[in-house]
């Protein structure tokens, strides 16, 4: 029957693991001990861990030490241990493990984790960030009507990129603190992919609006798509950063999405029909290449205007 002792950090994270194939273990500062701890607050012979011959349970005995033994923060002279009890002698924290108690089942390894390993490539992250800079510069160029100067435009676009960097950096720091591994490259690759994807969606949105002039339902569709993208992004960032049960991750991702979207949309809805001398319309014009759907006739447009009059008449009553 073996006794296993685990040296713990202050936050009870296991640091070191000792296994003894015997029925008792002496712990102290003396070199004769089975487990020698170099802690000035520990007596040369401080504690004896033994298996109780009758019950077969583990117990600790104080060997008349100066500073005593604390089990779960209570001083004891002798105690029978349960699993998960934390023992403190001097300034050292230990856990004594009963090898008979079965451990929890392993968390099934996610295929996704393997599938996402390609994100963790330095050259990919750098390439994607260059693509992002290029994209931002291109949209700035397309939005300009004056002579375009790349050098002048670059600082503001890099600044925008730096703002985006806050997200992957904070997840990397979180992961580093909790798990010691930051996965910063994956986080950055993920960020740039999402930035490019969202910009692609915006382009699609413009083309759709320009061609079909959708009604109010389109705003809801936009909301659903945007929320989904945000939720997936948060979920993946969490997935890369931390090992969590899926349920927990889902809940965190959904609640973070709500926290991000709720203020934007409530403000939007509160402001929606404030009086303005300027009408709210979509001014998007796209070159003939993107003009996919066919146009209607003047007569039809005038016919439709009839219902517009009814619509504004209804506003009077409110």
């Amino acid at each position: 029957m073996a006794i296993v002792l685990e040296l713990l950090s202050r936050k009870n994270i296991p640091l070191k693991h000792y296994k003894f194939e015997q029925d008792y273990v002496c712990v102290g500062r003396d070199f004769n001990n089975d487990l020698r701890l170099d802690d000035p607050y520990i007596c040369p012979s401080h504690m004896l861990v033994a298996i109780d011959p009758e019950s077969g349970k583990l117990m600790v005995n104080d060997c008349q030490s100066t500073n005593g033994i604390k089990v779960n923060n209570k001083f004891v002279r002798q105690a029978i241990l349960n699993s998960q009890d934390v023992i403190k002698i001097g300034r050292t924290r230990l856990r004594i493990i009963d090898t008979k108690v079965p451990l929890a089942e392993a968390i099934p390894l996610s295929e996704l984790e393997e599938d996402l390993s390609w994100l963790n490539q330095g050259f990919l992250a750098i390439f994607l960030s260059l693509v992002c800079v290029g994209f931002l510069l291109l949209s700035k160029y397309l939005g300009s009507v004056q002579e375009f100067n790349v050098i002048k435009a670059l600082p503001s676009e890099l600044g925008q990129l730096a703002v985006f960097c806050v997200w992957p950096l904070s997840f990397a720091i979180l992961a580093k603190v909790v798990k010691k591994e930051s996965h910063i490259v994956s986080q950055f690759s993920l960020m740039w992919i999402v930035v490019l994807f969202v910009n692609g969606l915006i382009l699609l949105q413009k083309i759709a609006i320009f061609n079909i002039h959708p009604g109010a339902w389109f705003a809801w569709l936009e909301l659903v798509i945007f929320a989904t993208v945000v939720a997936i992004f948060i979920w993946l960032s969490l997935f890369v950063a931390l090992h969590q049960a899926n349920n927990r991750r889902n809940i965190i991702a959904i609640s973070m999405t709500l926290v991000i979207l709720a203020p934007i949309y409530t403000l939007g809805f509160l402001n929606s029909d404030q009086f303005s001398p300027r009408p709210n319309y979509n001014p998007i014009l796209l070159p003939p290449t993107y003009n996919i759907t066919s146009a209607s006739q003047t007569d039809k447009f005038i016919e439709q205007a009839d219902s517009l009059f009814t619509q504004v008449d209804k506003l009077k009553i409110k």
Partner: protein, 432 residues
């Protein structure tokens, strides 16, 4: 002080000028003589009109007015009494006569289109004097005299020159060379015989004044014997006048083919009527611009004043030709989108007067095979049935880096006029 008047002075800028200029007027000895006579003769029929706010018991705005008959009817400007018209429970109208006597006035009728109002003295004195109304307008260049009470300084007389009716205007005004100031609104303008030929209404500064012409005053005199308007009759009366006015305006606009001209590669309706003033401009002098922009704008010179936050009866038509060959397709269309962004109403209106705009947009091909992204926005008048403000924007989609933006705003129009005008406008654009 006096409610502001708005008049449009020069072309591209729609200047709203208040009666602000205070100028010392020098004139010939002869006209001074006449002026003295006129003033002595008619001062008893000349009043300062005060709008008294009931809460504070003090005047909130002032203007001038003149009596036209022995039954106590006084003519003034609509804009002088507009506060009362919009809030009859919160204001009352009073007059202050030359001899310092005061009294209350009742509203008999308004003519919002010509900015006139007829009020009546509640109590009459034993001897009432009145201004005679002229039979016809004087000859251009004749001396005429504007009377009124500028800035609450006391009654004055300003000699000036009659310069005919303002040319090409829908809302007719007399062009008066002489200075009119705030507070003189509603005062009479008389010829050398002391007969009324117009009513002070606005100034464009620098000795240019505008008067309501004789014919409009004669129109108002039909209500001389009418009953006093009840509070709930005010808005329907105004609505009726606005509807008639817009019918008149749009039947003039819609019932004849529009004159066209070339703008860039397009043919556009340039001057859709005589009484609209048009201005043009381009950016050709800007050497750094990567695109060409040529503009053509037309508008009615005047709008109808309803209250300090609401004007109506206006019309603006605007075309802009854009050519961005050196920009390329995508940059041009980005710029093109920006150019149609943020169009706003052509008239001032507050949220108590009108609803928010609602828009309809579509790609439309007209009878000349020109395809436009077309946008029609409307807002309804809350207090006047059947009247709307209209905003229209269209941008052609037929070229890769060239386009024509066409735009108009109408205020205070009916559904029927809007639809006829819009159809005519949309189908009037063609490629060369």
């Amino acid at each position: 002080m006096l409610a502001p008047l708005n008049i449009i002075v020069t072309g591209t800028l729609n200047l709203r000028i208040l009666l602000f200029m205070l100028t010392v007027f020098c004139s010939l000895a002869h006209s001074q003589q006449t002026a003295q006579n006129l003033f002595g003769q008619h001062r008893t029929a000349l009043y300062q009109i005060k709008i008294i706010e009931l809460e504070s018991g003090n005047k909130s705005s002032i203007g001038s007015g003149f009596q036209i008959d022995s039954s106590g009817n006084v003519v003034t400007n609509y804009h002088v009494v507009s506060e009362y018209v919009y809030n009859p429970d919160k204001f009352r109208i009073e007059y202050l006569a030359y001899d310092g006597s005061e009294g209350q006035l009742q509203l008999v009728d308004v003519d919002v289109v010509n900015d006139l109002a007829l009020v009546r003295k509640v109590t009459l004195s034993e001897q009432e004097s009145a201004f005679p109304i002229a039979q016809s307008l004087p000859l251009q260049g004749s001396a005429i005299y504007s009377l009124g009470n500028p800035h609450d300084l006391g009654m004055i007389v300003v000699p000036g020159t009659f310069n005919g009716l303002k040319k090409s205007s829908f809302y007719q005004r007399i062009h008066f060379t002489g200075s009119i100031n705030p507070g003189m609104s509603g005062g009479p303008v008389v010829n050398e015989l002391g007969e009324v030929v117009g009513v002070n209404v606005a100034t464009a500064g620098n000795q240019i004044g505008f008067l309501i012409p004789l014919a409009k005053i004669q129109g108002l005199l039909k209500s001389q014997d009418a009953q006093v308007l009840k509070n709930n009759q005010l808005k329907p009366r105004i609505q009726e006048q606005l509807l008639v006015n817009q019918n008149k305006l749009f039947s003039l606009l819609n019932n004849h083919p529009w004159e066209t001209s070339e703008l860039g590669e397009a043919i556009i309706p340039s001057k859709i009527t005589d009484f609209i003033s048009c201005w043009g401009g381009s950016n050709t002098s800007d050497k750094e611009a990567l695109y060409l922009s040529v503009e053509n704008r037309c508008q009615l010179d005047e709008q109808i004043y309803l209250h300090s936050g609401l004007r109506t009866g206006g019309l603006e038509v605007e075309f802009e030709w854009l050519d961005g060959e050196s920009l390329g397709e995508h940059r041009f269309y980005n710029f093109y989108s920006q150019s149609i962004t943020g169009a706003g109403a052509g008239n001032i209106a507050s949220k108590n007067d009108v609803t928010n705009f609602r828009c309809q947009q579509d790609k439309v091909t007209n009878i000349h095979n020109v395809t436009n992204k077309t946008l029609l926005c409307l807002r309804a008048y809350k207090e006047f049935e059947q009247l709307y403000d209209v905003l229209f924007v269209a941008a052609t989609l037929d070229h890769a880096y060239r386009g024509l933006i066409s735009h108009y705003t109408l205020s205070g129009v009916s559904k029927e006029s809007t639809l006829i005008f819009t159809r005519k406008f949309m189908d009037s654009i063609e490629w060369q």
